[in-house]
Symmetry: none
Subunit: 309 residues, 2 copies
C-alpha cells in the first residue's frame, strides 16, 4: 500500500484551494480529515486528495455548496457503514465487546437513532443468539448496575431499559411455537412494576418453542385465576418479583396455585428471589443468574413434561 503524504502547501498547489479554505472545510464539515504529525501539521494522503478534488469539482463547476457536496461525498462513500463495519474487523470477541460499549454509550447519551442503527447492524452481523445474549442482555444488566451505583440517572435507566426491552420483545413473535410443549403464563404480581427479568426469562422460553402468555407487570390475582381456569395446557406459571416486601404475598399466591394445580410448574425469579433457595419457597424452580443454567433446567424439567389428559 502506497503511503505518500502531502503537506498542506503541496495540496494548495496541486488543487488550487487556499489553505484557509482547506482548514475551514475540515473544521466546519469534517469534509476531509487528514492525519497529523506529532506537532499537529496536516498530512494529506492520496484518498484525501481525491476527495478534495471531487469536492472542488462539485463546488466550482456544478455550483453546489460545500456543505452539500460534503453530504453527498459522505453518502457516496457510505462512511457510516464503513465506520460500523470497522467494528466487525478483528477478533469477534473484541467486536462484541465494542458493540456493547457503543450501544451502552449511545443509550447513555440518549442517542436513540444511533443505538437503533447499531442494534440493527449487530443483528445483521451476529444474528439473534449472539446479539441477545452477549450484547443486549449484558447491556441491560449494566444499565441496572449503573442505576444502582448512581452512575446513571433514573431517566437514563428508564430510557435505556425501554429501548432494549422494546427490541427484545420484538422477537416474541418470530420464533416458532412447538405445540407439544405446555404454555407458560408469565406475570409480575400486583404491586410489582419491574418486568425486565420476567421479559428475559419469557424470551428464553419463547426461544425454546414455548408459547408464553405474557401479562407483564402489576397483574392482580383474580385475573390470573380466571385465565388459568379457562386456558388449557398451561404447564407453568412464571413470576418475577423485585420488591422484597412482596415475597410473603407471592409465597401465599404460589401456595394457592400449587394446591389448585398440583402438576403446575411454579417458577419465580427477580431480585427479591436472588438469595432464596428452592427449600425456602413454594416454587418449583428459581430462575436465578446465570441464564446459562436455565437451559439445563428447561431440558430436564420442562421440555419433558407430557400432556395431561
Amino acid at each position: 500500500m502506497r503511503s505518500i503524504v502531502y503537506s498542506i502547501k503541496q495540496v494548495v498547489e496541486m488543487l488550487d484551494i487556499p489553505s484557509v479554505t482547506l482548514r475551514a472545510w475540515e473544521n466546519r464539515y469534517q469534509a476531509v480529515v487528514p492525519e497529523r504529525t506529532e506537532s499537529g501539521y496536516r498530512l494529506y494522503n492520496q484518498e484525501n486528495i481525491e476527495d478534495l478534488r471531487w469536492l472542488k469539482e462539485q463546488t466550482d463547476k456544478q455550483g453546489i455548496s460545500i456543505s452539500h457536496a460534503v453530504r453527498m461525498l459522505k453518502q457516496h462513500k457510505q462512511k457510516d457503514l464503513d465506520e460500523r463495519l470497522s467494528v466487525a474487523g478483528g477478533d469477534p470477541k473484541d467486536a462484541l465487546d465494542k458493540m456493547r460499549q457503543q450501544i451502552y454509550a449511545a443509550l447513555l447519551d440518549i442517542q436513540g437513532e444511533r443505538a437503533d442503527a447499531l442494534i440493527d447492524f449487530g443483528f445483521s452481523l451476529y444474528g439473534y443468539e449472539a446479539m441477545v445474549h452477549q450484547v443486549l442482555v449484558p447491556v441491560l444488566v449494566k444499565v441496572g448496575d449503573a442505576w444502582e451505583q448512581g452512575t446513571a440517572t433514573v431517566a437514563q435507566e428508564h430510557y435505556m431499559t425501554h429501548m432494549i426491552s422494546n427490541r427484545l420483545s420484538q422477537f416474541f413473535h418470530v420464533f416458532p411455537v412447538y405445540a407439544h410443549l405446555h404454555k407458560v403464563l408469565a406475570f409480575c404480581p400486583a404491586g410489582e412494576h419491574h418486568q425486565v427479568g420476567l421479559l428475559l426469562f419469557s424470551l428464553f422460553l419463547r426461544r425454546n418453542g414455548v408459547e408464553v402468555i405474557y401479562l407483564g407487570a402489576n397483574t392482580p390475582e383474580d385475573g390470573v385465576m380466571e385465565l388459568l381456569e379457562k386456558q388449557e395446557r398451561i404447564g407453568a406459571v412464571c413470576l418475577s418479583v423485585t420488591n422484597g416486601t412482596l415475597v410473603p404475598y407471592t409465597e401465599e399466591l404460589l401456595e394457592r396455585l400449587g394446591s389448585l394445580y398440583p402438576e403446575m410448574q411454579l417458577i419465580v425469579g427477580g431480585r427479591a428471589y436472588e438469595a432464596i433457595s428452592l427449600q425456602d419457597t413454594n416454587a418449583t424452580y428459581v430462575m436465578a443468574e446465570p441464564p446459562e443454567k436455565w437451559q439445563a433446567w428447561f431440558d430436564q424439567e420442562y421440555a419433558t413434561i407430557r400432556h395431561r389428559a
Copy 2:
C-alpha cells in the same frame, strides 16, 4: 441505503421552478415535503424530484392548476395502496373490519400465535398507516372499553394491551427522524403505570419525524429534570395520566417545567385529562381524542417551531 438528496438550489436548476414557488407549493398543498437538514434547509430526494417534475409537466403543458395536479398526484399515490388493499379481494373496508374482529377475538382467546400471524398478514397487506390507525388502535381502544365494562378480565386486558403495544412500539425505530424538529420527552409521572396513550401519541410524533425520548411509565421527577438540563433541543414534554388523583401533582410539575423552560411545549393526555380543557391546566396542549386532530395541532404548533439560540 439512503438516496441522494438535493438542495433547493439544485432543484431550481434541474426543474426550472423558482424556489419561491417550491416553498409555496409545499406550504399551500403539501405537494412535496422534503426532509430537512438540522438547520432547516430543504433536502429533496429522488422521489421528490420525480413528483415535482410530474407536477410541472401537468401545470406547464397540460394547463392543469397546481392544486388540481397535487390532488391527482396524491390520488395516484393512494391508488398504489388501494391496489394492495384490493389484493385481498372484496371491499377494503369490510376487510379491515374483519381483521379488527379477528385480531380482537384471537387476543381475547389468548391465542398469541394466531393474533401475531393476523397482524403480520395485515401489515404485509395494508401497510403501516391503515393497519395501525384502522386496526390496531381501534382494537386497543376496544380492549380498554371491554375492561371498563367488565367484558374482559384484567388478565385479558393485560395480555391484549401488551401484545398490541408491543407490535406498535416496533415502529419506533423505523421512521426517519427530521433533525430540524425539536425532540420530545415522553413519560408518565411517578405513580402512573398506564402508558398506552403515551405510546400512541409518541408514535404519532415519531411518524411525523420527531425524535421521541420515551421514558415510559412511572418516571420520577428528578430524573426528568436532569435529562432536560443535559439534553439540548427538547421542544416539548409529553405526559400521560390515567389516574385522576395524580392530576394535582401533574399540574405542579407542569408549572415547574413551564417556569424553568418557558418556551417548552407542555403536552398532557390520558383518561385523567379527557374532560379538562386548556384553560384549566398549565399545559399548552391537551391530546384528547380524536387522534385526527393531533395532525392539525402538530402542523400548526409544533412543526413550525424554530430553533432557539
